[in-house]
Amino acid sequence: MASSIENNNEKLTLKSSDGEEFLVEKHVALQSTLLQNMLDSDCSSADVIPLPKIDARTLALVLGYCKKHADASSSKQGELNSFDSEFLKDMDMGALFNLVLAANFMEIKGLLDIAAQKIADTIKDKPHQEVREIFHVENDYTPEEEAAVREENRWAFEGFP
């Protein structure tokens, strides 16, 4: 166990996929289970930790979330909840996808939950064709196959194109 964890003022540097470096206070970084495990193991805190899957914009968002939750961990849950919904409010799908990936990679469960829920809430009433666009998924059905799958659950499509 690294003794440096006991010192809350210490900082570590995270490096995004596009080379941006972020100086983060340790207690904020501890919101991430991945970083926590790294700090607990022998990784020297003087080093820069590269996060090659996370771009700078996403990392900035993630760290904003972590900071709020680290600083407010003893305060009221309601305040955090309203921060969470405000945090995701106007975020576009691309940003949400990046957030989900980053939260998954960095093992920040709270962020993963709210971002996944936000995506689900956004797509749940959209037609499947639009969901294809959102997820950049190629339609590999033939028209006949798609019609067959659709027919199996006809009622679910009532009111949808």
Binding site: D18, F22, D42, A56, I119
Partner: protein
């Protein structure tokens, strides 16, 4: 510096596994520029590229969707169909908050024979009995009883087997066997009511069945009262539930706050009460349903009642306006404790 294995493994696990993907229709983000190692202003950072979502994450997102959306999204592409139809996916559902839509919804294509109280499926694929999950041999189950529904799953009895069925994935899991050797099951009992509920404390589903004994040898066994049996689907144990009442309606009521409700009657007292039988000891949660007994919902209507939001439910003080649907009419009534 040396990174620990879990870090390297985490990196590998985010590799793109989701197969083919359409090329993005936008240009790549502008190259990054060097900056001092401080948290930069977010607006100055380049736009993020829309990433691929690996299957394990996709699963986490999709499992939060209502069944209706999932059924439509089976049409997105074959990998999605496969994912949504995966047996593992149905396990996620058991922990999710998804309600079966009755009547006009998911069971729209169910054919309900009110005389025999049997349900046969039309249109929807009905459960198939498989030798084992993932096996290829399938035997059709043309006749079965739906004993209850909870959290998007149906409890189905076929012959002496009990199944949990997830209509969105069409996955079926055998959960119980009728305990014929058990003395509680010796007599010719009549199943008068049944239901399925979920206990978050023990994280398991419970099947509840209420029976009435017919006349035996000129006297009524167990008086006019019924007997209820609860079975825990995880431990597969059957337990007797104290139940000195007669079911007023054969169909189970809604599962609200993880409790299964029934309308029951005491023999010395015509008043109908609702009882919670979700747990081993049936604790009484509300009374005063007398006024609404005329509108006692059928199985189909009961499904509508499960629309009740859990927030509306208070154990001690029931003053919410409840909605019973009878046919196309809607009856509203105020229930007081």
């Amino acid at each position: 510096m040396d990174f620990p294995d879990f870090y390297l493994n985490a990196l590998k696990s985010t590799a793109n596994l989701s197969g083919r993907r359409r090329p993005p229709s936008f240009s790549p983000p502008p190259p990054s520029f060097p900056s001092p190692p401080h948290s930069p202003d977010i607006s100055s950072l380049p736009e993020s590229q829309v990433p691929d979502i690996p299957p394990d994450l996709l699963k986490k997102i999709l499992s939060r969707l209502p069944i209706r959306s999932l059924l439509r999204f089976r049409c997105v592409c074959k990998p999605w169909l496969k994912l949504i139809s995966n047996p593992q996916f149905s396990i996620l559902f058991q922990k999710g908050k998804i309600a079966i839509r009755g009547g006009k919804g998911l069971l729209y294509d169910l054919h309900l024979d009110s005389e025999s109280d049997r349900v046969s499926m039309v249109g929807l694929h009905y459960p198939r009995k498989k030798k084992e999950i993932g096996g290829t041999e399938e035997v059709e189950m043309p006749q079965f009883e739906i004993l209850g529904s909870c959290k998007g799953l149906l409890l189905i009895k076929h012959d002496i087997d009990f199944y949990l069925w997830n209509p969105s994935t069409r996955q079926c899991m055998k959960v119980l066997l009728y305990p014929r050797s058990d003395e509680r099951f010796e007599y010719d009992r009549v199943l008068t009511g049944s239901g399925l509920c979920y206990d978050s404390v023990t994280d398991e589903f419970k099947a509840v069945m209420a029976y009435r004994y017919p006349y035996r040898g000129g006297y009524r066994f167990n008086g006019d009262r019924g007997i209820a049996v609860a079975a825990c689907l995880k431990s597969r144990r059957w337990t007797n539930v104290y139940f000195p009442y007669k079911l007023k309606s054969g169909d189970s009521g809604p599962v609200v706050n993880e409790r299964l409700h029934w309308v029951v009657k005491r023999d010395e007292d015509e008043r109908a009460d609702a009882w919670n039988l979700g747990y081993k000891d049936s604790d009484r949660v509300r009374r005063g349903w007398r006024d609404c007994c005329d509108y006692l919902p059928s199985w189909e209507d009961m499904s509508d009642i499960s629309y009740w939001e859990e927030d509306d439910y208070t154990t001690d003080d029931w003053e919410e306006e409840d909605i019973f649907k009878k046919g196309k009419e809607q009856h509203r009534m105020r229930i007081r404790t």
